[in-house]
Symmetry: C2
Subunit: 608 residues, 2 copies
C-alpha cells in the first residue's frame, strides 16, 4: 500500500477516534474506548473495501455492515460523518432525546439494518443477510464487527456452525480483540489463536492480524473478499482506547466518556474533517425472484377433526407457491410444526436451521432486511430459547412471523418440557407484536395467509392434536377481530376462549344451556391486538367474563381480556394452567388443569 494511502488511513482513523471521543463527551456517556480500538479496522474497510451507496440505502448491490458490538456506536456515527451521510452537528446530538444517533444503533438510521446492543446478535443476523444474498444471487458482502467479549455467547457458535457448514463466503466477521470486557479482561485476552482454533473447527477461514496496522487490515479484508466456499473471520488484536494515554489498554475505562476529552482530542492530533469516498456498489442484475403459480389455501370440511398445525403447514405451502417472497425456516422439527409441506412445495426457500432457535430467529430477521417474508417455526416452548432475539426484533421493527406448535398442556404425554405455557406472555410483551391463536383448521389457514402482510413481530400459536373444524373455508379472520360463537339476550356470562379451549367452551355452553343457564362464547383468535369492542359489549350485557386458556395464568389471554375491560370493571374470572403438569393424555391434562368443559361449567355455576 502506498505511503500516501497509509497516511490517509492513519489520519482517518485518528479522526474516527476524535469524533468518538467528541460524541461521547457531548453526550456525557457512551463507549468511546470500545470505538477507538476498532477505528483502524473500520477506516480501512470504509476506504478500501466496503461498497455502499449512502444516498440509496436500499440499493440491492449495497454491502451490509452490522455492528454486532453495538455499543461502539460512536465509531459508526463517526464513520457516517466521514462518509458524508451525517454532519458534525448531528454527530454531537449523540444519545440526546430525539436524535437518530441512539446509544446503540437502530434502524431509525436508514443505513442500519437491525438494532444491536444485545451482544452476540449481530453475527447471527448477519448470517441471515448473507443467506438472503445467496438466495437473490446478489454479489454484496456482509461485514460484521464483533467484540471479543461477545464470542462467549452461544448464539455466536450457532452462527459459526450455520455459516461454516453452509459455506457462506459472502460473510466476513471482524473481531476487535481488545482483550477488555466491561468488568475486566476477557477469558482469552489477546490470545487470538484461541478464537482462531474455534472458528477454524467450525469450518471458517481465519486470519489473525494486528488491528492497528492498516496494511495487515487491508490484506485481510481483501483476502476475505477473495475467499471461496467459506466465511472468513479476521481476528484483530487491538488496544481499547487506542491513542489516548488516559484510557489506552486500561481496565475501568469501559462505557464512559473520557475525563479530559479536550486533551484526548489534542493527543489524537485535533479535530479533522477528512472525507472518505466509499466505493459505490457494482450495478447488479435484478435480484433473483422465484416463480409463482396460482395456489389456493387448503379447505377443510366443517365437523372434521384437523390439527391447526396441519392447516398451517398446508396453507404455508400454498402461500409459498402463490408468493415468491415467502421463505420458511424451521428448527429441525418440520415434521411436527408441519412446515415440511412448504419444504416439499418450495425447497429452495426452505431453510433447515437445526436445533438452534437463536439462529433460527436471527436468520429470519436477517432475511427480512432484504424484504423477504420469513416464517420461522419450532415448538412454542422452544421459542423461549430465542426470547432476546425476538425482543430485539421488536426494537428493530423487523417484520418476522414466528410459529409455535405444540402449545399448552393439550399436547398430552410428552410432559411440561415440551409444553408452550409461557409463549403468549412472552410474545405479548414484545414491542409492536401481533399474537394469533386459531382454534380450527380453516381459521389457522386464513391467519397463516393473513400474517404475510403483518408488520412487526407476529406470532401464530398452533395445537398438536386435532380439533373440530367449526368455520367454513374462505371465511376471513382479520387481525384484531374475534368471533361470537354463542350469544343470546339471556346470557348470564360470556366465556372467552382461544385455540383448544374454544371447543371446551362450546361444549360447556351447550351443557349449561341444556340445564337452563345460557352463556355466550367468544373465540378470541387475535390475542394482540384484542377486540376490545366485542369484550366491552359482552361485559356490558352479561357482566361476567370467564376466560379459559391453555397457558399459564400470567400474561396470556386472561390478562389480555382484563386489560381490555379494566376501565369498565366487569367481573372477570380466569381459568388457566396453575400447577405443574406431568404426563397424561390430552383429555386428562385439560381436566387436571381445570380448563376443560367440566371446569368451565362448574365455574359458571359457582359464579351464578
Amino acid at each position: 500500500m502506498p505511503e500516501r494511502d497509509l497516511q490517509f488511513l492513519a489520519e482517518l482513523a485518528a479522526q474516527l477516534r476524535v469524533d468518538s471521543v467528541r460524541a461521547a463527551a457531548a453526550a456525557g456517556s457512551g463507549h468511546p474506548t470500545s470505538s477507538m480500538s476498532a477505528a483502524d479496522l473500520m477506516a480501512v474497510l470504509f476506504s478500501c473495501h466496503l461498497r455502499y451507496d449512502f444516498t440509496h440505502p436500499h440499493n440491492p448491490g449495497n454491502d451490509h455492515l452490522i455492528f454486532s458490538k453495538g455499543h461502539a456506536s460512536p465509531l459508526l456515527y463517526a464513520l457516517y460523518k466521514a462518509a458524508g451521510a451525517i454532519d458534525d452537528d448531528e454527530l454531537l446530538t449523540f444519545r440526546k432525546r430525539g436524535s437518530r444517533l441512539e446509544g446503540h444503533p437502530t434502524p431509525r438510521l436508514p443505513w442500519v439494518d437491525v438494532a444491536t446492543g444485545s451482544l452476540g446478535q449481530g453475527l447471527p443476523v448477519g448470517v441471515g443477510v448473507a443467506m438472503a444474498g445467496r438466495l437473490e444471487r446478489l454479489p454484496y458482502h456482509v461485514w460484521v464487527l464483533c467484540g471479543d467479549s461477545e464470542l462467549a455467547e452461544g448464539s455466536i457458535w450457532e452462527a459459526a456452525e450455520h455459516a461454516g457448514t453452509e459455506g457462506l463466503a459472502n460473510l466476513t466477521v471482524i473481531v476487535d480483540v481488545n482483550r477488555l470486557g466491561q468488568r475486566g479482561p476477557t477469558r482469552h485476552g489477546w490470545d487470538t489463536g484461541a478464537y482462531a482454533r474455534r472458528f477454524g473447527a467450525f469450518g471458517w477461514h481465519t486470519i489473525e492480524i494486528d488491528g492497528h496496522d492498516p496494511g495487515q487490515i487491508d490484506y485481510a479484508l481483501g483476502d476475505a473478499c477473495n475467499t471461496r466456499r467459506r466465511p472468513t473471520v479476521i481476528l484483530a488484536k487491538t488496544r481499547k482506547g487506542e491513542g489516548v494515554v488516559e484510557v489506552e489498554n486500561r481496565e475501568g475505562a469501559h462505557g464512559k466518556a473520557l475525563k479530559d476529552p479536550e486533551r484526548a482530542v489534542e493527543e489524537l492530533g485535533g479535530v479533522r474533517s477528512l472525507h472518505v469516498e466509499v466505493r459505490r456498489p457494482e450495478d447488479v442484475p435484478e435480484p433473483h425472484r422465484f416463480e409463482t403459480r396460482m395456489s389456493a389455501p387448503p379447505e377443510y370440511r366443517v365437523g372434521d377433526k384437523v390439527a391447526t398445525r396441519e392447516a398451517f403447514g398446508a396453507a404455508l405451502a400454498a402461500l409459498g407457491e402463490a408468493r415468491g417472497d415467502v421463505v420458511v425456516l424451521d428448527g429441525e422439527v418440520a415434521d411436527s410444526t408441519k412446515t415440511e409441506a412448504f419444504a416439499d412445495a418450495c425447497p429452495e426457500r426452505f431453510f433447515e436451521m437445526y436445533i438452534a432457535e437463536q439462529q433460527l430467529v436471527a436468520a429470519a430477521v436477517g432475511l427480512q432486511v432484504r424484504g423477504w417474508k420469513p416464517y420461522a417455526a419450532t415448538f412454542a416452548a422452544f421459542l423461549t430459547r430465542a426470547y432476546d432475539f425476538i425482543r430485539m426484533a421488536g426494537v428493530s421493527k423487523a417484520s418476522i412471523r414466528l410459529v409455535g406448535s405444540h402449545a399448552g398442556v393439550s399436547i398430552g404425554e410428552d410432559g411440561p418440557s415440551q409444553m408452550g405455557l409461557e409463549d403468549l406472555a412472552m410474545m405479548r410483551a414484545v414491542y409492536g407484536s401481533t399474537v394469533l391463536y386459531p382454534c380450527d383448521a380453516n381459521q389457522a389457514a386464513a391467519l397463516t395467509t393473513e400474517m404475510a402482510d403483518v408488520s412487526g413481530v407476529s406470532y401464530l400459536r398452533t395445537t398438536r392434536g386435532g380439533t373440530p373444524v367449526i368455520y367454513q373455508p374462505g371465511e376471513r379472520f382479520p387481525v384484531g377481530g374475534s368471533r361470537v360463537l354463542r350469544r343470546s339476550p339471556e346470557d348470564r356470562a360470556t366465556i372467552v376462549a382461544a385455540g383448544v379451549t374454544v371447543h371446551e367452551a362450546l361444549a360447556a355452553a351447550d351443557d349449561l344451556a341444556a340445564s337452563g343457564v345460557p352463556v355466550g362464547v367468544i373465540d378470541m383468535y387475535s390475542i394482540k391486538p384484542i377486540d376490545a369492542a366485542a369484550l366491552v359489549e359482552a361485559a356490558t350485557t352479561t357482566g361476567t367474563l370467564i376466560t379459559v386458556e391453555d397457558h399459564r395464568a400470567e400474561g396470556g389471554l386472561g390478562d389480555a381480556v382484563l386489560d381490555a375491560v379494566g376501565e369498565l370493571g366487569p367481573r372477570v374470572v380466569k381459568l388457566a394452567v396453575l400447577g405443574l403438569p406431568a404426563s397424561a393424555t390430552p383429555e386428562e391434562q385439560l381436566a387436571d388443569a381445570r380448563i376443560d368443559r367440566h371446569a368451565i361449567a362448574d365455574t359458571v355455576k359457582r359464579l351464578l
Copy 2:
C-alpha cells in the same frame, strides 16, 4: 475385558433395549429408538464406572448422571429397573397419568437432578454440578448423555467454553452420535471428527469410539475418569433403533412406539431380568464448607439517594459473609449489577460466567442441585437470553435466585436494547416463581436477604439510578406483602406502583393532595405472589386503581393487579411503557413513556 463380562454387557444392553421398547409400547408413545442407540453406552457406564447409591440419592459421594437427551427417558427408566431402583410394573406406567416416569425425566424421581427435554440444557447444568463438586472438594463425577442433534444449540458451546477453560476434569459428556435427528439426518451425520475438532478447539479431551462396542466404551469411560485438567467428550458412533430391523438406522422412526413391539422384543432376544450392581460411591469426607462471620446487611439513611442495585450488592456481600452456602454468578457485568461487592467479600464463591446468560442460569441450576443458594445476575434485558433455562428451572422446581439490573426506561440514554421491559411478564409466567421489585435501598437489601430461603425460581428487579430511601433500615418486607404509603378515608383512587414508579406515585399524590384530590399509594414490591388483600381493600374503598410501571403494558404489575381484583371488578387503569423508547435522560424517558408524576396526576384528574 473378559468374555464373561462382555457377554453380560451385551445381555444388559439387550435388556435395556427390550425394556425401552416395552415401556414405549405400553405408553403408545415415547422415544424407543433414541434409547436403543445409547443402550450399550449406558450399560457399560452403569456396570463398570458409575458410582451411585440408589438408596441414598443425596449421598454426597454419588456421581451425577444427566440425560441431556431427555427424550431417551425409556432408557433411563430401564436402567433404574436394572439397578433395582424401580420394578417392572412401574416401568410399564411410563407416560401414564400419575406415574413418576414422565415423558421426559423430572426430579419427581429422586435420582433425577433436573428436568430435561429441552435440548442443549443438560450439559450446561452438568457444568454447574461439576462446579459444585470442585467447590465442595468432592470426588464425584458428572456424566452427561447428549444427543448429536442438540450439539447445534449455542448453549452447548457456552458450556464447552466454560468447562474447557475451567478445566472441569470431573465432567464427561457422552454423545450418542446416531446421526438421525427428529426430522432427518443431522448436520454432520456420523462425522464424529467434526464434533471432535469443535470440542478439541474448546480445550476438551476427545475420544471417538464405536458406541456399540463395550470394550471401546469401557476404555473411553475409564480414560475419561483418568483425565486430568480437562473435561472429556466421548463421541460414540451409534445406530438409532439398534437391534431391530424395523427401525434400525432408518429415517421416520423418531419419537414413536414401534409398530410391532412383540417382534422387536423377540428380535432382541426376549424379556430379561438382569440386575446390574452399580458401584457404591467412596466414603467421602464432609463436603467443604466455607467459614462465615457475623455480618449485618447495609443500612441506608432515609432521604439519601441510593440505587437499589447498590443496596443489593452490599446486602449480597453481607449475606455471603454470614452464610457459607450462598454463591454468586454474574454475566460479566458485576460492576453494573453490583455483585462485585460479593466478589470482593467472598471471591471463592463468586463465578464470572462471562457474557453467556444460558450457562449463567444453568450453572445456578447445577449448583443448587448440591444445595447451594445461587444468585445469578445480569441486566434484566439480558435474562431474556436464558428464558428457556428459567422455564425449565421452574419445571425442575430448582431454587435459584435471578437478579436483573437496569430495568425499565429509567436507565436513560443507553436505549431500548439495554432496557428490561419484558422481564416481569417473562418471570411471572414461570411455574412457581417469585417476583420482587424494590423501590428503595433498605427494601432492596431486605429482599436480597429474604430471597435466600425462597423456594423455586425467584427474581429481584433492580434499578440503575439512585432513588430516595423511604424506609427505615431493618424494616421487614415479607414475600407476598405490600406497603401502604398514602391512605386517607377521602381517597378518590389508589395508585399502585413498584420500584422507580413508587417515587413518581408519591410525588403525584402530594401534588394531587395539594390541589384537593387525595389519593392512596401502595408500594407493591412483591409482584408475585401479590398482596391481593391489600388490593381488594383499596379497590373496595376507593373504587379505582391506577397502576404505574416501568415495563411494557403486557404481563407486568398492571396485569398482576388486574388479576388479583378481577373477580371484584373495580376500575383499573394501567400506565405502562407503550411505545418504543429511544435515547433520552431518565427523567425524559419517564415523561415520554407517560409513567412519571405528571402523567399519573393527569390520569387521576382525567378519571375523576
